[in-house]
Symmetry: C2
Subunit: 436 residues, 2 copies
C-alpha cells in the first residue's frame, strides 16, 4: 500500500488522517454513497463485535481476529468470546439471518465501516481499515442480472471517484471449476488449484504452472495458456468443458453483456480467467479490479456471487452477490490525486475575524445572517488579527471578513480573498452573494 502522505495513529497499524485527508476521505465516501443510493441500496451499520465462533466458523485464522476482554475481570460476566469484525460480509450474513422476518427481499444494503485484522506490524499493513460494500441478498432465488448490477454499480462508483482507467476482471467459479476438471483437478485438489491460481500474480505464472503440475495435472501448461489467453472467451471454444463448466461460461457471457447494457464501458470490464478469489464461499461470478494508474494497489474492488453464505446460519437458501471497495487502501493513493489533493482542511469558506472584541455582538449577528444565506463560516474571537488571517489561510479558507468599528457602524465589511490576494469593502448584504 502506498502512503503518499503522513498517516499516524496512537497505535501502529491503526492509522488516522489529518484534517485535509479526512475531508478527502469523506468526499470519496460521499461520492460512492450517492451512486449506491441511486441504485436503491440502503445504508446499514452493524455492531463492531460478533460472536467469536461466528467469525472463526468462516475459516478466518484466529491469530488475525481481535478478541475483546474487560481490562478488569469485575463486571465482565456475559461478554466472553466476542471479537471485532474481520470483514463486512460475515456480519451481513449474520444480520440477514437474524432479521430475516423483518427484512424485505431482495435485501440491498451498502455498508462503509472499519474492519480489524491482526496483521503483522509492518509498513503498509493496516490493522484497521475501511471497506465499502454493496450486496443484494435474495430470498430463495436471485437472478443473474443482480450480479451484473453490482458490477455496473461498482464501475459507476469508481467513475464517480475519478480513479482514471480501471478494469473489472470478471470470472465465474463454475467455469473455473469446469476448466480445472478438464485439467484433471477434482475435490480438494481443485480447492488447492484455485488457491494457486489466486496467488499467481504474486508468485509469478511460471511457479504457478510448476505447482499445478506438481499437484498432479498433466495439462498444467495448456491450462495456464487458456487462463492467460488475451481473448479467453474465444480460446474456451476449443476446450471441452463439462456441463457445469459450460453453464459457468454462459453465465460469464451473460453477466458481461448485462453489465455493459447497464452502462459499464467496454474498456472498464472484461473476462479474465485468472481471477479466482481465495475465499471458499463464492459459487459463480467473481471479480477483481485493477487501476491503470496504480496497479501496485492490487485489487481495489472485489467480490462475487455466493449462493450458500448464510446456509449454515439460516434455514432457507439466501443467495447473494456483492462487491467491496477497499476504500482505505484506495484512498492511500487516491487522496494524493485531484480533486482530493487540493481540498481544504476546513469545510468553511469564510473566516469572520475578530478585530475588536467589543464588536462580538455585531459579529454574532453577521455570522447568523451569512450562515442563514448558506455560507459556511468560521469565527475567531480574539488574538492578533494577522495570526487569525494566517491560520485561516492555512486551513484553506478562501475568504476572510474583517469588520472594525467604522464598518460596523455603516453596515459594511472588508472581504479579503486569499486566493488572489485582493480585498475590498462591501455592504454586508452583498457578502453572501460574493462568496457563494
Amino acid at each position: 500500500m502506498t502512503d503518499s502522505f503522513k498517516l499516524v495513529g496512537a497505535v501502529s497499524g491503526f492509522p488516522e488522517y489529518l484534517p485535509k485527508q479526512q475531508r478527502g476521505f469523506a468526499e470519496a465516501v460521499a461520492r460512492v454513497q450517492a451512486v449506491y443510493e441511486a441504485f436503491g441500496f440502503t445504508p446499514l451499520e452493524t455492531a463492531a463485535v460478533e460472536r467469536a465462533e461466528t467469525l472463526l466458523a468462516k475459516g478466518i485464522e484466529a491469530k488475525e481476529v481481535y478478541g475483546l476482554r474487560r481490562m478488569a475481570a469485575e463486571g465482565s460476566e456475559g461478554d466472553k468470546d466476542i471479537a471485532l469484525r474481520f470483514d463486512l460480509t460475515v456480519p451481513l450474513a449474520r444480520y440477514v439471518v437474524q432479521n430475516q422476518n423483518e427484512l424485505v427481499f431482495p435485501f440491498r444494503r451498502y455498508q462503509v465501516q472499519p474492519v480489524w485484522r491482526g496483521e503483522r506490524a509492518q509498513a503498509g499493513r493496516y490493522r484497521q481499515f475501511y471497506q465499502f460494500d454493496i450486496d443484494t441478498i435474495g430470498d430463495g432465488a436471485l437472478p443473474l442480472a443482480a450480479d451484473a448490477e453490482v458490477l455496473a454499480a461498482g464501475a459507476k462508483a469508481l467513475q464517480a471517484l475519478e480513479v482514471g482507467d480501471f478494469v473489472l476482471r470478471v470470472n465465474n467459479r463454475k467455469l473455473l471449476a469446469g476448466l480445472l476438471r478438464w485439467a484433471g483437478f477434482a475435490g480438494d485438489d481443485q480447492t488447492m488449484a484455485i488457491k494457486l491460481i489466486d496467488d499467481a500474480e504474486k508468485v509469478g505464472w511460471e511457479k504457478t504452472e510448476a505447482a499445478l503440475a506438481a499437484l498432479g495435472s498433466k495439462l498444467s501448461g495448456p491450462l495456464v495458456q487458456v487462463l492467460r489467453a488475451k481473448e479467453p472467451l474465444r480460446v474456451l471454444q476449443e476446450v471441452e468443458l463439462d456441463e457445469e463448466g459450460r453453464a459457468g461460461l454462459t453465465e460469464l457471457q451473460q453477466v458481461l453483456a448485462l453489465a455493459k447494457g447497464m452502462g459499464t464501458a467496454e474498456t472498464n470490464i472484461r473476462a479474465d480467467l485468472t481471477i479466482a478469489r481465495g475465499l471458499d464461499y463464492y459459487t459463480g461470478t467473481v471479480v477483481e479490479t485493477r487501476l491503470a494508474a496504480a496497479p501496485e494497489l492490487g485489487s481495489i474492488m472485489s467480490g462475487g456471487r455466493y449462493d450458500n453464505l448464510a446456509a449454515n446460519l439460516g434455514k432457507k437458501p439466501m443467495p447473494g452477490v456483492g462487491i467491496s471497495i477497499g476504500i482505505s487502501r484506495l484512498c492511500s493513493w487516491l487522496l494524493a490525486q485531484e480533486p482530493y489533493a487540493s481540498m481544504a482542511a476546513s469545510p468553511a469558506a469564510v473566516l469572520l475575524a475578530c478585530q475588536d472584541e467589543t464588536l462580538l455582538p455585531h459579529y454574532a449577528t453577521v455570522a447568523q445572517q451569512l450562515r442563514a444565506a448558506g455560507v459556511k463560516l468560521e469565527q475567531t474571537f480574539g488574538g492578533k488579527l494577522a495570526t487569525q488571517l494566517k491560520n485561516a489561510d492555512k486551513k484553506g479558507l478562501r475568504y476572510a471578513l474583517i469588520i472594525g468599528e467604522q464598518e460596523a457602524a455603516n453596515g459594511t465589511a472588508t472581504l479579503k480573498d486569499f486566493a488572489n490576494g485582493t480585498q475590498e469593502v462591501l455592504p454586508l448584504d452583498e457578502v453572501a452573494k460574493r462568496v457563494a
Copy 2:
C-alpha cells in the same frame, strides 16, 4: 433509555438498527453535521483503539474498558495493551497533542463515532453507542466566546433535529467552587460535594442535602436553596462569593449573553447551578440539556470548558471547550418521532419492475436514463410481478414503473403510485418529471 422500536444485535448490549431506523439515524447525523460544518468544524475520525494506559490515566474504570487481544497468541507481539475508546474526548486530546505541529489552531472538529463501554448487561444499557462531539481547541489561549459558540451550535443542531422544546442548563465550575467554599467545602471535600450534586437528580435533593451536611457543611440547607433557586443569578447577588466564584459568575453571565446573541432562543438556555458534571477535567462552563418531551433520556447534550485536558500529554497549555450529543441515546426516542418515524426503509423512490425478462436490455437503458435525471431507482430482475410490487411498497418506495412488450415498443411505461393507489401510462421522458 427508552427503546420505542426493536433493537437487536449479535451480542447483547451491541444494538443494530433495522433499515428504516438506520436511515432515520443517518438523517439525524446528516442534520447535525450540516449545522456543524456551517460553523466551520471539520470532520475527524480517530482509530477505534487507544493505548490502554492513555484511557486508564484519565480515571476511567478498568472494568468499563474493553481491551483487545488476538484470538491466538501467534503474531500478536507488539499489540499488547490496546483498548477500545471509551469516549471521543480522550482520543481528541491524544490526537491534538500527537499532531500539534500539523494542525492549525484554533482546531475545530466534529466527530461522530461509536464508543464502547463495559456496562452491565441490562435493558437500555448499551456497550456500543454513538456520540456526536464538537470541540474547539486553542493554542495557548481560547476566548470565552468559544464556549458560547459551542452552546449556540449545539442548540442549532437540536433545532435542526426537530427535538421540540429543550433547555441548555448552563453552569460554571469556578462559580460552583466558589459557592462550595462559601458552604465550607475545600479540597477533596469539594470534589466529593460536586459528585453529590451531580447525582442529586437521580437520588433526590433531600438525600443530597443530608449527604452535604454529613460531609461537614453547616450551610447545606442554604446551599441547596441557592443551587435550586428558580432565578439563581438573582439569588447569587445575596451570596458572598470569593474572587474565583465571582469570576465564574461573570463568565456564566457572559456565556449566556453571547450564546443568545449568537441565536440561541431565551427559552432554550438558562443558568442552572445544579449542573455539576461528574468529570474532573472541567474548569469553567459546564452544560447539560434536557428535552421537554423526553426528560427520561437524561441529558442528551453535555459538555464544557477544560483548560488542562491535554496538559499531562503535551507541553503547552491547550484549552478547549466542547459539547457532545448522545446521539444513539437521543435516537432511541427521536426515531419514533416525525419526520424520522415515517422514513422509508430504502432510499429509492422508484421500483423498475421486471415484467418480462427478455426486456432486461430495455430496462437497463431506462434505469440509466432515470438515474441520470436524478431519480433513485431500484431494479428487480425476476420473480412474480405482484411480489415485486408488494415488496417495493413494503420498503417504502413511492412508485413502481412497469414496462411490458407493448410499452417497450412505443416508449411508454405504466407508473404506479403506491401512495394513492393510482396508475397511469406515460411517455418515458415524462417519468422523471413526474416522480421528481
